[in-house]
Subunit: 107 residues, 2 copies
DNA sequence: AATTAACATCGTAATATTGCAATATATAAT
DNA sequence: ATTATATATTGCAATATTACGATGTTAATT
């Protein structure tokens, strides 16, 4: 097969895994860090900064947008991609709830 | 292609992405939650509880072990898989540092 | 209106992941 | 010693992901 059996898990488990999965690529970690360090955030900078082709960066940005972590606004002929701080904080909280409620142990 | 260009990222970025990636599958989230809720944690229970084949569960356990999140001890003819609380806390802290240092914004 | 610049999307090749049956291994029970 | 039980490993098929060139699209510039 090769297809994840989403149906056998809870919505919470699938959502959590989805967040983790999107963050689970170094290019996407790097993109978030770079955007966070800039005051202007334009996609073309990312291509030079990260060192992947423009099409590839665009694809990674799309995935970060898919879970609401980034929002992009058209700014002339460029794009201004920003971190959605509200969403960012919400996800951080959800991950912390997961970590805090899942660390008990038997041995 | 199809191969992640690990060399162009920092070790920190690759490590972070690796943690996220391992947690980025609902079966692995479910396994961690189940183990955390049990006092005894035996692999065979997991097969029935999660609903994936024994070989598949074994594979997921291996990945969780690969980043040190689980430790397994032989207990008779069963295995006792436990969460490595120390490692768990370390990773949680690293993720929080990432979240806290990466949420500034421009718009 | 043609051109340029900045992305986005499509198509595709290479590689990775998911899942399982079959098989191997290791221990407990008989 | 043989058998049963629990888990790991191997091999493989199906699907997903990564990456990029080529091509669309949109908006500013000329």
């Amino acid at each position: 097969m090769g297809i994840t059996k989403t149906q056998i898990f809870t919505e919470q488990q699938n959502d959590l895994a989805q967040f983790f999965k999107v963050l689970g690529h170094p290019a996407r970690v790097a993109i978030l860090q770079y955007i966070s360090n800039q005051n202007t955030c334009i996609c073309n900078d990312l291509v030079e900064e990260i060192g992947l082709a423009q099409a590839t960066i665009s694809q990674h940005l799309k995935e970060l947008k898919s879970i609401g972590l980034l929002k992009g606004e058209v700014e002339g002929k460029s794009m201004c991609y920003c971190i959605n701080v509200e969403r960012w904080t919400t996800i951080q909280n959800q991950l912390n709830v997961f970590f805090n409620t899942t660390k008990s142990n038997c041995c």
